[in-house]
């Protein structure tokens, strides 16, 4: 898959993984596992990028005697997901146009 496209997709996937409730690193990887395999270093880079862009916030919380980082989505993070869905509608329309042409030449 195109690198730029995949990068944008993964950003939205991570946002989707925390959209219902806040989550932590290992849980995000596990929740995404059935759909896309994500390495820990890639996840770190994405989380950092989304935090810098203000799409999520981070808090430290005690869990079983150690600290765990929890990630919570922000309003602009939710907007990113909505924008993605809107873009995708357009892309699907173009996709239908492209495959329609295919059928005509079959």
């Amino acid at each position: 898959m195109d690198v730029q496209l995949k990068r944008g997709l993964l950003d939205v996937c991570v946002l989707a993984a925390i959209k219902d409730e806040e989550s932590y690193g290992y849980k995000i990887i596990k929740d995404m596992q059935p759909y896309v395999r994500l390495s820990e270093s890639t996840l770190y880079t994405i989380l950092k990028r989304l935090e810098d862009a203000g799409m999520l916030t981070v808090r430290n919380a005690l869990h079983g005697g150690r600290l765990r980082k929890y990630y919570r989505i922000t309003a602009s993070g939710r907007k990113r997901i909505d924008d993605f869905k809107a873009d995708w509608e357009e892309i699907m329309a173009v996709y239908r146009f492209i495959t329609k042409e295919d059928r005509r030449y079959d």
Partner: protein
Amino acid sequence: MTKQAFLSRLEKGLSGLPREEAAARAAFYSEIIDDRMEEGLSEEDAVAGVGPVDKIVAQIIEETPFSTLAKQKIRPKRPMSAWEIILLILGSPLWLSLLIALFAVVLAVFAVIWTVVLVFWIVDLVLFCGFLGGAAGGVLLLAGSSGFAGLALFGAGIVLTGLSLLLFFVCRAVTLFAAFLTRKIALMFKMLFV
């Protein structure tokens, strides 16, 4: 490998990064290994699951801009005393010229590599010109009276074309190899600052 061994190897590998950045990376891995163990994995398996340390370090270094690595390298580990600053300034004719020499050597290596590439392409171009000359000369001589000489010249032209076509593929391979070498050397140079 134990979690502690993994983390200390990771931090050692990332010593070229700003300290807080390296610590944040290590804390991130530490948390995930703990979470894996909490789910019932053994320490060994939990560590193995995140992948080999060397690969992780190489990936992080490649993602980090060169300027960050260089800045971290030249930042003193503790505040410098006045004497150290004076010595540093007095010594600048020595270390500054050594640093410039190091940069110059790397640049020279790049120049040598790409000169070889250039030579290959020039030879190929010359051979191709030989074809044009041979063909033109041959046609001219054939049109005149000296048929045999014209034919020989034309033949020589065709041989040169064949050679230039063959050499074209060699040139392409040499160019690709030079690009590969350039990338490798640049990465090696980056690693000097880690």
